[in-house]
């Protein structure tokens, strides 16, 4: 695969209008915002109609899940929610590039990747409801638990990749991070280790333009993908709102990792159309016109346009996906409000594989305390 050297071409597609980057290099793109298939010299993709429709379905269902979760938070049912609105293509494309044996290390926003790994949305929601620390099996799903500490998962992923390497396993590791995380020490440390050991890890950075409220130009003087050159491995910028391009680029990077060619840094150029989390108010730091501009680059609309125009899908298909999304929303809503509280002692259960005597004593003390309510309540 080739490193996209900074061809100083001003591209008329996503990213070109971003005011904060002086010169916009090439984006890898296979599907334009208008829904036209284009070819790229280095990346090709050949999907059958069924696979294309599946990608569309993924995008729509993931967005619906996200919208419903945001509403549930506003209704007091979730403590917080980190919305992926606008980043569906980056996540679904990256997630669908993974092979069954691969492992993904997400941040706290990779709901779309979770979806592609077969994680039940309610298992993700339980985390945001404060019921558990993530309800899915990271080993069985190949999808590690969410990491809230910014950038920490890059070290986990690199270490895991080094383990995979030593096991002689032909699988790869996909580490997710955001643009803000690239300013973190552990991310840079992880990249140095990954490069030094040629670890089979791909760093997938969703550049959604804001580290909460801080725009990218405050964090980096160069386009993020160019930083990879400093670590000594390829960096590529892909249109993060183009699910086909993301899929193609990530696949190629994962293949390279499995083949022993070491890490790749992918900058998926996208936009967080919603708030950083439900506790954030993006209108305080960015203009509505910017959002409107990015709405024209919506990751789902372009796939729908392509599917209809090419005759790959008809209205019945779109209606069916819409109905499925409605059902998913109802299931998520019901499942959330009916989610049982964990017992108070659950916090002791998963700290250590084998409980320590000190912790056992604490648990006994806590149980006795809880029991002291008993006289009155039952």
């Amino acid at each position: 695969m080739s490193v996209s050297s900074a061809t100083e071409v001003v591209d008329p597609v996503p990213g070109a209008g971003a005011p904060h980057l002086p010169r916009q290099p090439d984006l890898v793109q296979l599907l334009t915002p208008e829904g036209e298939r284009v070819e790229h010299p280095d990346y090709a993709i050949d999907l059958d109609d069924q696979q294309l429709r599946e990608l569309y379905r993924d995008l729509v269902l993931v967005r619906r899940w996200d919208v419903e979760a945001t509403a549930l938070q506003r209704q007091g049912e979730l403590g917080i929610w980190a919305s992926l609105l606008g980043q569906e293509a980056a996540q679904v494309g990256a997630g669908r590039a993974l092979q069954p044996g691969d492992t993904a290390f997400p941040t706290y926003r990779e709901h779309g990747v979770a979806w592609t790994r077969g994680v039940d949305p309610l298992h993700v929601i339980s985390l945001f409801r404060g019921v558990d620390n993530g309800g899915w099996d990271p080993v069985a799903t190949g999808f590690n638990l969410y990491t809230v500490v910014i950038g920490a998962q890059c070290l986990h992923a690199t270490g895991y990749a080094m383990g995979v390497q030593r096991d002689g396993s032909e699988t790869a590791v996909l580490a997710f991070l955001g643009d803000g995380a690239t300013s973190q020490g552990e991310v840079n440390e992880a990249m140095i280790w990954a490069a030094s050991f040629s670890a089979p890890v791909v760093f997938f950075c969703q550049n959604n333009q804001y580290a909460i409220s801080v725009p990218l130009e405050r964090q980096s003087r160069v386009p993020l993908y160019q930083r990879a050159a400093g670590f000594g491995f390829p960096g590529v910028r892909v249109d993060g709102n183009d699910v086909l391009a993301v899929l193609a680029v990530t696949r190629a990077a994962l293949v390279a990792a499995r083949d022993g060619q070491g890490p790749t840094f992918i900058e998926a150029f996208t936009y967080r159309m919603g708030a950083h989390t439900t506790s954030d108010d993006p209108t305080r730091y960015r203009l509505a016109s910017e959002l409107e501009e990015w709405k024209l680059r919506d990751p789902i609309a372009r796939v729908k346009a392509y599917l209809s125009r090419s005759g790959t899908a008809d209205q019945d298909f779109f209606d069916a996906v819409e109905a499925e999304a409605d059902e998913l929303a109802v299931r998520i809503r019901r499942g959330t409000t009916e989610m049982p509280d964990p017992p108070g002692t659950a916090m002791f259960d998963q700290v250590y594989a084998e409980q320590t005597p000190h912790l056992a004593a604490q648990q006994a003390q806590f149980e006795a305390y809880q029991a002291s309510f008993g006289e009155a309540s039952e």
């Binding site: 419903e68 509403a71 938070q73 506003r74 209704q75 007091g76 049912e77 979730l78 403590g79 917080i80 409801r129 404060g130 019921v131 708030a275 439900t278 506790s279 954030d280 108010d281 209108t283 305080r284 109802v330 809503r333 019901r334 959330t336 409000t337 009916e338 989610m339 049982p340 509280d341 964990p342 305390y369 002291s372 309510f373 006289e375 009155a376 309540s377 039952e378």
Partner: protein, 494 residues
Amino acid sequence: MLRQFKLPDVGEGLTEGEILQWLVAVGDTVTVNQPLCEVETAKAAVELPSPYAGTVTALLHDAGSTVDVGTPIITIDVGGDAAPAPTGDGGETADGAGGEEVAAGLIGGAAPGGRTAVLVGYGPRNTEARRRPRRAAHAAPAPAPAADYGSGGQDRPPLLATAPDATAKPVRHGGLEVGRQAEAHAAAEAAAPSRAAEHGHRRPRPLAKPPVRKLAKDLGVDLTALTGSGDGGVITRADVHAAAAGPSAASVTELRPVPAATAGEQRIPVKGVRKHTAAAMVASAFTAPHVTEFLTVDVTRMLKLRSRIAARPEFAGVKVSPLLFVAKALLLAAGRHPMVNSSWDEAAQEIVVHGQVNLGIAAATPRGLVVPNVKDAGRLSLAELAGALAQLTETARAGRTAPEDMTGGTITITNVGVFGVDTGTPILNPGESAILAFGAIRELPWVHKGKVRPRQVTQLALSFDHRIIDGELGSRFLADVGALLSDPGTALAF
């Protein structure tokens, strides 16, 4: 069936939000996730989507009001059973009873243990609201302890679910006055819960462990009425049992309905200094026709003089404040214009020009506004005046001002500058004919000797009784005070 939506914590750890506007009205049909209102919190302005499908029956708070998290803000009729069944043993009455709530997504088999409790559902929880000492929640019947704890179950049904049980004895929960509204509540209509959020009195939180609080709550014992027998006055389980066994008539008779009040409203009896102040202000404002004039003064020189004077040995130990110079300037100017130091005698139809200046100083004290005065202030030297002012305000702040010090005032200064305020339109102390407001001293760009310089500038405002003092006299007096402050050397000419 009526469902209430309580203001959730839409950020992390927020306690209140302001309803910016309602996007629905009573009678509107709403669907799940349809925006109901826009709420602004300390972090963001957000739209709240409806958790229910149905018809809006009441908006419980007006746009513009600030609402505590956990307070019901809207009532929606979701159809189904009109009369909620009595709450069972930790059961989920409203949710289980209605079969129409598929749209709301709230029905379905109970979770293990018969619970459909929520962990972060701030909205549905009454317990959240009860923890706030300021607000009373609705009363729950004392004999149904099991329904009252642990699960979020009883939180789900509308508050009316417990109200019709008029035979239940109103109780106080955990030391908070949650029972005061009980009788009114039982008779109330659907909108009643908003009234139930009436504020209770603040009182110190009694010391008791959570299990003991729980016990007291279940037994209907008011912890604030108990004296703890444990270490450090902690209320024990035995104390609660003893109180529950003893006569409880006293606590029951207290539970009278109070006048209907809206949520967030606090009623404070008018008494003491407040009552006196109110009467005096009304008497003054509606008998003496007030005129207020303003003057902006460069007091840089006065402040320099103040530094020099403060360094003199006879001023050691006394506070040489800007107020002292204002007082001195007023006294000097009053000597030139004796009519400002006068009273209107309505009965005798005479103007009384006082022979001495009893200088009042308006003082903010913990008990409220008091205006003690310095008797015959005109005869005091600057050092004596400084000492008198310091003693006066100190005594007033300690609440020990003698009645004779508060009567007989002839003219007053109010130092609004200490609150960082520029000026105001003071109301006359009753019986007096002039009051001078002294604003904050600020460093401002000011034309001084033909150049713009940073200078210390303040504002003076003089209100006077226009029956006695004409505009000309008032203006001259104020101008003299201003001249003395901007150029203290003028005093030699007085």
